[in-house]
């Protein structure tokens, strides 16, 4: 498959993985391997002296690039500090910017996200903001210097798929940075649809980590992203109201 390029960096896989929800690091490790991912996001939290093993060790052993996120932040100020601490801890200036508006929906806050994006871009970060399926905001974030935009399909962990495919298409049409469908993926067909709509990549976690067999679902997602990408490049036939014979109608 053709490479995904974000901020000049190339990835052979168009499936970006999250790490939330896995029952153990072993299960996560197997799922990441099965997914074929080369870029995976991690959260930043207070150090727990009793914690055994680290998600960083898993990523390092599989040579997967780490993408720190600002999950858990509710304001631009919190997100900027978290990004700076991630840069210090992990030695990367990449950040998945996530500023949540409320605990119930976990929907991203557009005002705080835009504010944080501007400040992080100015501070030299490669910023990948998680946003609603809003074409206007996506464009403004691209203009602000973000390296990609990451619209949701549906709320985090909901598995509801892509609720507004039309808006995702509008975002894709206007964007000249990669569009990464983030959040809401429930099963393989959702991931394939994202790619068929023209997204450059898919980011998912829960759909794999909370599946009954995470490694098997990871394989399914890998195949779905590849199939969707190929279908997008192949160009689908137009939808028709009535049948069109595919064999000659005269004997």
């Amino acid at each position: 498959m053709d490479e995904l390029i974000i901020a000049g960096e190339k990835f052979a896989s168009r499936l970006i993985m999250g790490t939330g929800g896995a029952p153990s690091l072993e299960v996560l490790d197997q799922a990441l391997v099965a997914s074929g991912t080369e870029l995976t996001t991690v959260a930043m939290r207070r150090l727990d002296p009793g914690a055994r093993g680290s998600v960083l060790d898993v990523l390092r052993s599989r040579q997967i690039k780490v993408l720190p996120n600002t999950a858990g932040c509710f304001t631009a100020g919190e997100a900027v500090l978290t990004a700076r601490m991630a840069r210090e801890a992990l030695g990367t200036n990449w950040v998945k910017l996530e500023v949540i508006n409320d605990e119930r929906t976990l929907l991203p806050d557009p005002i705080e996200t835009f504010d944080a994006a501007e400040r992080l871009v100015a501070d030299g970060f490669v910023v990948l903001p998680y946003i609603g399926d809003d074409p206007a905001l996506a464009r403004r974030l691209e203009q602000a210097g973000c390296a990609a935009v990451m619209p949701l399909g549906a709320p985090i962990g909901s598995g509801l798929g892509i609720r507004n495919p039309h808006n995702i298409e509008l975002i894709v049409e206007a964007a000249s940075v990669p569009v990464i469908l983030d959040a809401g993926i429930g099963t393989a067909s959702d991931a394939a649809l994202a790619m068929e709509l023209g997204c450059d990549a898919v980011l998912l976690a829960t759909a794999v980590t909370r599946a009954q067999r995470p490694d098997l679902m990871a394989s399914a997602m890998r195949a779905a992203v590849q199939a969707g990408r190929l279908a997008r490049q192949a160009g689908r036939i137009p939808r028709r109201r009535y049948a069109e014979a595919s064999s000659p109608t005269t004997p």
């Binding site: 991690v42 996120n69 700076r84």
Partner: protein, 66 residues
Amino acid sequence: MHVTINGAPHDVPDGTTVAQAVQRLTAQTTGVAVAVNDEVVTRGTWATTALADRDRIEILTAVQGG
């Protein structure tokens, strides 16, 4: 003096450094970041940065999530 490390109160001697505060929680130095009163303290200056009374120290690392 009294400081807060990751939300918990600690009594530490005067002149305690960021490096010493980190050592109270972990021997680890990589994969960890420290902020004092919401400002990042880079690893290279942990040993030379002294804490002040009532400082708030946050020590973060990467975990599964997001």
